[in-house]
């Protein structure tokens, strides 16, 4: 199949410089974009069915069309690449930034042109040192060739691009938390509406978009929406960077048509389970997605199909649970993460998730009672969407509620035997 986003990525992950990027057709998307009206680009992106690759799956073109345009719009408008890859089990944006950084720079330049933004930030994880080095180098090269800066390629469009290294907190990946972090504040979420597209960074119209999403944009401009949709096996357009971690034979990342089945990813690309362990379940797209099990292996990995079976595509990088690993221990690890990373802004999240962690810790260590399971189910309800400011808590209880559903016997065994059956 045709590789789009990873076609330049070298096996040794060495730096792809401007020349190499241009030789593979790089910056043609930006050249073409500059000949189009911003509204035409937004329309093409809408038609392409490109959906947000950071986990939310919101249609990208629809989001852009909410930005006030023309002379009456507040200036400056901003674009922020969400490169704060911090969802446990997710490592795909790192590959794109280390393996082909110019692709992100071009994607951001085109997106900025489409929404008439004049300032663009890469909001980058503080730990991604190699990504930082390479993005700074790529941005400097792009400035030199007038792909960035004043009057891009001699046009009337100007855009400045800066890298912001995060102070480190899961909340920074949340759209409005990211805006607060960029303003030098704690990354608490903001109430919506107003949506960032209307009133975002420093009160100005702002689009926050995941790295992988932005990388797709130049190709949609160059090759058109129909081509982009033809890459996919389903309604959602494009390819997807899928990944697998856990006890599979070949953990890794693969760019495949959107809608590839879980079974194909797991068995063909990840090589199946390691010798001596059996498959029990997986989180399809990072820590904040519901478990899927054996009966779901033929589900197509896209936003619509995964949702139909009660989970989410999320980031598309799956975390595999095997029979030698305790499901209760795994969920305890996940809820420890979410409780720790909760920003403390709203009660269901900071209180609920801490109690979830405590109850799971008790069960895992042989101190649990059956009433704890009712308590955990209650926490799943109070953390449901609509009860919290942002998506952290609703995401946090997704693996918990589905573990209670699919691995209930294992919870009961912990409580009945007063120990973890997986510990010697």
């Amino acid at each position: 199949m045709e590789k789009v986003l990873t076609k330049n990525v070298r096996p040794d992950l060495s730096y792809v410089d401007l020349k190499a990027y241009e030789a593979s057709g790089g910056y043609q998307g930006l050249r073409k974009a500059l000949t189009m009206a911003p509204a035409e680009i937004i329309d093409e992106v809408k038609k392409s069915n490109l959906r947000g690759r950071g986990g939310g799956g919101f249609p990208t073109g629809v989001k852009w069309s909410l930005v006030p345009m023309g002379g009456d719009a507040l200036q400056p408008k901003y674009l922020a690449a969400n490169a704060d890859e911090m969802e446990p089990g997710t490592f795909k944006d790192r590959l794109l930034m280390e393996g082909d950084p110019h692709q992100l720079v071009e994607g951001m330049a085109v997106a900025a042109y489409a929404i008439e933004a004049s300032v663009a930030y890469v909001f980058l994880r503080g730990e991604y040192q190699l990504s930082e080095e390479r993005l700074r180098r790529a941005i400097a090269e792009a400035y030199e060739q007038h792909y960035l800066g004043k009057n891009v390629l001699g046009s009337n469009f100007s855009v400045e691009m800066f890298v912001h290294m995060s102070g480190g907190r899961y909340m920074c990946g949340e759209e409005t938390g990211l805006l607060n972090a960029l303003e030098g504040k704690r990354a608490n979420p903001r109430t919506k509406p107003p949506y960032p597209a209307v009133s975002g960074l420093f009160g100005k119209p702002t689009i926050v978009q995941n790295v992988e999403t932005l990388c797709n944009v130049p190709y949609i401009v160059t090759n058109g929406a129909d081509w982009f949709r033809s890459l996919s096996l389903t309604q959602d357009g494009g390819t997807k960077i899928y990944g697998a971690s856990g006890k599979v034979k070949r953990p890794g990342l693969w760019e495949l048509p959107m809608g590839t089945t879980i079974r194909e990813i797991l068995e063909e690309h990840a090589g199946g389970m390691r010798d001596g362990v059996k498959f029990r379940g997986l989180l399809p797209g990072g820590a904040s997605t519901d478990f899927l099990v054996e009966e779901h292996l033929d589900v197509k990995m896209d936003f619509t199909e995964v949702q139909k079976v009660g989970s989410r595509l999320g980031t598309g990088t799956m975390i595999v649970l095997d029979d030698q690993t305790c499901p209760v221990g795994m969920v305890l690890n996940l809820e420890h993460f979410f409780a720790q990373e909760s920003c403390g802004w709203c009660t269901p999240c900071w209180s609920g998730l801490s109690w979830a962690e405590k109850a799971l810790d008790a069960i895992e260590n042989g101190q649990g009672q059956s009433a704890d399971l009712d308590h955990l189910s209650f926490i799943c309800k109070i953390c449901a969407p609509g009860n919290t400011f942002c998506a952290l808590a609703p995401g946090a209880v997704e693996p918990l509620q589905s573990a209670l559903k699919y691995f209930r016997d294992d919870f009961d065994r912990h409580i009945g035997e007063k120990r973890c059956p997986w510990k010697a």
């Binding site: 490592f91 907190r169 820590a287």
Partner: protein, 154 residues
């Protein structure tokens, strides 16, 4: 007092944002890169430079995982304790590290060589378990490899 170098580097960041306050996190990282951590004195200096109150800056400092408000050793070990690394043997790795270093998580060795901290998913899950020491990511670790990795840091 901030060195003139630190001050200049922070002031260069002003051009990237419309407010001085927005530079807060960058400023702390600039100072921390040179001094290892953010002392009360550094906090006051940064607050003064950015026109913020000390409490505001401390509120930001204490929110972020990568801003240290206590002194750290010459090298900071951040071991990933998130789910993929947990599945692939994080606990054994942690046990090996704490016993080799003779410290608990969050502590610094008496000779000031290492500080050991937990960190969330480092985005290298296909090479779990992983840890970072200073700016370097170490992949595909197991307890037997720990000594050889630590030796590189003096």
């Amino acid at each position: 007092m901030l060195s003139s170098e630190e001050r200049e580097e922070i002031e260069r960041e002003f051009a990237h944002y419309p407010t001085k306050e927005a530079v807060c996190i960058d400023a702390m990282k600039i100072v921390q890169r040179r001094r290892g951590w953010i002392s009360d004195e550094s906090l006051q200096d940064i607050a003064g430079l950015l026109g913020m109150s000390v409490d505001e800056v401390d509120g930001v400092a204490s929110f972020y995982n990568l801003i240290f408000r206590k002194p750290v050793g010459r090298h900071v070990i951040m071991i990933c304790d998130s789910v993929s690394c947990w599945i692939m043997g994080y606990e054994k790795l942690r046990t090996q590290l704490t016993s080799r270093l003779g410290i608990k998580m969050g502590e610094t060795t008496p000779d000031g060589r290492f500080t050991l901290l937990p960190i969330v998913c480092l985005g290298a899950c296909d090479h779990a378990p992983v840890m970072m020491i200073d700016n370097e990511t170490h992949r595909d670790l197991d307890p037997e490899k720990i000594d050889a990795v630590l030796e590189k840091y003096t």
